[in-house]
């Protein structure tokens, strides 16, 4: 069975692109277009990994992450933050809230993304810690 990934991203074109790319790489993909929908789908779809955007309407990435980590049924799902380079403060916040890793959207390459997803899932299974945020 394919690994199920939840992509939470408000930019429609990016959500479509990520969904398609990940599907082609052999993942099963569920999309959510804001934080509220992301939190709901995290619980209902039980994905093995969540790709979470930070700047979103209704409920932003940090808010969504807090809710995901607060619910017993979703708190163990590894979360990878989708972000732009300028969000360093928020990346730090997210990592301290329990996000496993982050991905800079602007120049991601599909192979990197797929590798990252695989690594995070492996790391989660072996139970090691999140990396430190980069030094600005």
């Amino acid at each position: 069975m394919a690994t199920k990934i939840l992509v939470v991203e408000d930019e429609e074109i990016l959500l479509t692109a990520l969904t398609e790319e990940l599907k082609q790489s052999g993942f099963e993909v569920v999309g959510a277009k804001d934080g509220v929908e992301g939190v709901e789908k995290a619980a209902s779809e039980k994905p093995e990994l969540i790709l979470l955007d930070l700047v979103m309407p209704r409920l932003d990435g940090i808010g969504a992450l807090k809710e995901i980590k607060a619910k017993p049924e979703t708190k163990d799902i590894p979360v990878v933050i989708l972000t732009n380079l300028s969000d360093y403060d928020k990346i730090s916040d997210a990592l301290s809230l329990g996000a496993m890793d982050y991905l800079v959207k602007a120049n991601y390459r599909l192979e990197d993304l797929v590798n990252k997803i695989k690594t995070v899932i492996e790391r989660k299974q072996s139970g090691s810690q999140a990396p430190q945020p980069p030094v600005v």
Binding site: A17, V55, P57, R58, S86, Y108
Partner: protein, 594 residues
Amino acid sequence: MSLDNPVQIFLPLAIYTMIVFVFIWVENRRIKDRLRVKEGEMTRRMYEVSILKELGERIGYSLNVQKIVDVITGSLRQLISYSTVSYLLLSDEGRVIFHCVMEESVNHRFIEEIKNRLVTALSALINREIKTESVDESISGTITDESNRGRIKSFFNIPIVINNQPVGILNVASTKEGLYKEEEMTILYTIMAQASSAVSKLENILTQEKGKLNSMVASMADGVFMVDTRNRLLVINPAAKDMLGISKPQPSIFDVLDAVASKLDLRTKIEESIKNDRLTVEEQLPMNNLVLRVLISPVKDNENKALGAVVLFHDITKEKAIEKMREDFTSMMVHELRSPLTGIRSIANLLREEKIKNEQAKYQEFVDLIVTNSASMLDLVNDLLDVAKLEAGKFQVMKKSTDLTNVIKLRVTSFQSLAAESNLEIESNIQPDLPVMNLDENKIGQVINNLLSNAIKFTPKGKIVVSGFIAKNGQDLAGKVAEFGLIWPGLKPDVRLDEDAAIVAVTDTGIGIPESQIGKLFNKFTQLEQTAASEKKGTGLGLVISKGIVEAHGGKITVVSEEGKGTTFYFSLPLENPNIEYRNPKQIQKTEIQ
């Protein structure tokens, strides 16, 4: 009676002559006595004057009461004879000073006795007990002579009063009896009174000057305090207390140092500044909700001797906020451009694959995504460019004679279908006297476009009313609005125009805007930030640009709103020459038809 007897004639004459002589002699003596008295008085007066002159010269503009009293006691021997002259004085530092000048050697009990009498007298005068042991004592003049058994036989006291406040007592004492009469007392009293009046005047002037300085310091927006070289707080203004969160009315230096202790070792900074005689600047001190810049500057007297330091707190919270807004704006702009661009690149990559070309629906969806996203990016870039032009003052409007009614109607028509999609209705309420005027048709159209698209976005149900009318200089806008049957939620009475203008307004029945947000609407920094976190698409810069366009036409754009009831954006376009009746296109047509 015979007049031949010479004795009879001579005797009365002799008696008369005697009487005259006696009278002249007595009178002469009387005049001489009076002269002597006058002379004595004159000498005293001269003496008083010379002492006062000497006082004036030696005191200069001194405010040091002790110095003045010393001068007086030092010159007194030429005027009055005494064994000792002494004073008891309250000093500025709160000490009590006793000083005795011995003209003749007396024993120490004599001096002790004077001191005790003065302490008792001054205590009574200032209504506060002075303890003998708290008195600083000094003696000058000749040396004490314990063999002299002379006791105080005559003495008198003169109070030393500055600004109606008793500050000390002057005492003249002698071992001789019955020495001092009213005369001596008057002399000393006069001298003392003149000296105190001079000091009082000088002190008043100084207090006034100090008051000016104090009120200047007190009214400063910057926080200021001053310390001396021993780190004692000399003065602190209310702004400094507010900034540091000190509520005590009379704080000490420790209250000040404690307030910043967790962020700044102010004491060391002050000491270093004084030691190195250099202005020290602490660029950022976060304090409660404020960011402060701290400037520590050493203070020196005329002789270049260090007196202490002045510490100034300058509130740079706003500057920092603007700096942060600028940074945020840049990162938001990058975010807004980068996200769709990343998506476009990924989608374009996907389109290159052979497989996708067979999935017609998906292929079409991807192409559409690229089209709409690149279009919205272009909008944003255009808007950013417009804003940049506005800020650089290079935004140009091409005015030409235009029928404002047509401009409005055209915009309303083009938005009808979009409004219908949201189940909204757009009504027009355009008064027939709206003129043909000089304006940039495209740019004013862009403003109306922007107001209409905002109104549609933020109105879940109800309707949108576009109105146009003329308001004259000084007319109450609320009255005009009512006159044309319009309802603008949140419009307060007594909003008056300062010139004749055409008013164009877009009113919705939407969610309304909280008062705290209204100020942010026309600010590019806050707008883009709002947009990114909002599900409503658009650059958010429309209002910023609209404001620029309206202002380029000499008008103003304003918003009135009531939460839950709706919002009205209206802008004014000034009528160039209020004395001219504006050509009304409809009237002209009518005339022509007639």
